[in-house]
Subunit: 230 residues, 2 copies
Amino acid sequence: MGAARGGILKPDLAGWLRTTFDRAPTDQGPFDRALTHGSQAAANYERLEFLGDRVLGLVVAEWLFERFPAEPEGALSRRLNALVTGAVCAQVARDLGVVPFLRLGKQARDDGAHDSDNVLGDVMEALIGAFYLDAGLDAVRGFIRKAWAEKIEAHAQAPKHPKSALQEWAAAHNRRPPEYEVIDRSGPNHAPRFTVKVVIGKLADATAEGTSKQEAETAAAAALLEKLGN
Amino acid sequence: MGAARGGILKPDLAGWLRTTFDRAPTDQGPFDRALTHGSQAAANYERLEFLGDRVLGLVVAEWLFERFPAEPEGALSRRLNALVTGAVCAQVARDLGVVPFLRLGKQARDDGAHDSDNVLGDVMEALIGAFYLDAGLDAVRGFIRKAWAEKIEAHAQAPKHPKSALQEWAAAHNRRPPEYEVIDRSGPNHAPRFTVKVVIGKLADATAEGTSKQEAETAAAAALLEKLGN
C-alpha cells in the first residue's frame, strides 16, 4: 500500500512498522534511523545496530538455552553463531519486506547496497535495537522468536565444530587427516597469542591465530574449510 | 558468617546470595551450578556462562548507548570490549567475594583455579546468567550497573583504536609509522579472508587475519601492540 505525496508514490512506513512489529511505535524516530545508511545521513543505523546486535544475541542465547537443555556450551555457541550471521539477518530483513524502506545515499544505491547482506543484516539488527528501545525485552523476544522460528528448527543437530567438519571432509575425500602445528607463540603469559598451521597432506593448508591453542586450531580449520569451498 | 556443619566451617552461601543480589533466589539450584567448575561436576557453569555472557553484553551495551549519546559505534564497541573482558569480570567476582564459594575439583584447586581470571570471569558471567533466569532483566540490569559502576566511569575517553594506539606508540618511540600490507586474500567473494602484515620499520612485525582489510589491519595492529608490551 502506498500513499501519493508530492506526486511520488511512497511506501507506507508507518503501516509497515505497525504490521511488522504488531504495534505502532511510540516514537518513529529510532526506526527511521535504523533504516538509514551512513551514505545518506550522519544520523544512521550504526549505534542502533551496536545495541540490536546484543539484543538479538541475548534473545537467541536464551531461546537456545531453553530449547536444547541437554546440549553443552560449545554446541549452543555454534548454533547461535549460525543464527545471527549477517546473511541470516539479511534474509530475515528481506522476508519482512525491509528493502523498499531503506534510506541509501546515491553512491550506495548505485553500488547495490539495497541487496547487500552486510547492509540488510546491519539494518535488521538496528531495527531490533529500535524496537527494544521502544517496547522492551518481552516484545522484542516475541518478535525475534516469530521471525527466526523456522531457522531455529532448521538444524536438528548443532552445526559441526570446524575441526570435526574438516576431519570428515578429509575422510570423505580420501585425504590424510588434518595435522595441526603451533608455528608461533607470542604475547605475555597472561595474554598469549598462538599461530597454528593446519595441513591436509600436501593438498592445502591454512594458518590462523587465537588466544589459545584450541582457538587457533579452530580458526585454522575454519579457514581451511573455506579454502576448500565449504 | 559461617555455619558449622559436620565439623567443617562452611561459608554461608544463602546469606551471601541474599546480600549480593539484594534478594533471596527463588531457586538456589542455578546459582549452585554457576559456582561449579567442570572439574567438580558435569552440572557445571558452562551453559549459564553462555547465557550470562549475552546478558552482560546487552546490559553494558544499553548502558553505554545511553551514557555516551554522542559516540559513534566504534567507540562504544571498544568501551564494551574493555568492560567485559575475563580480567574485568574476574575482578568484579573477587570484589563481590565469590572466591570462598567456588566449587572446584582437586586438580583445579591444586592448579590455582580459585585465583584464575579465566575461571572467575566465567563464574561471574554464569552468576549473571543464573540471576537473569531467577529475577529477569530489570533486576540483573540494576545488579550489573552497581557492580560495574566505577569501571564504566573510569575512562573519560573511549579506549583507543589499535591502529591509532600503534601510530602513537611509534611516534612516541621515534620509530617509523606502521605500514600495513595485505599479504593474502582467500575465500569466496561473499566471504573473503584477508591476511595483513604490519611492520614498524625493521623493529617488529605481526600478521593477522580478518573478514575485511580493515578488520585484519586492526587485528594485526593489536597483535603488534601486544608484542611491544602494550
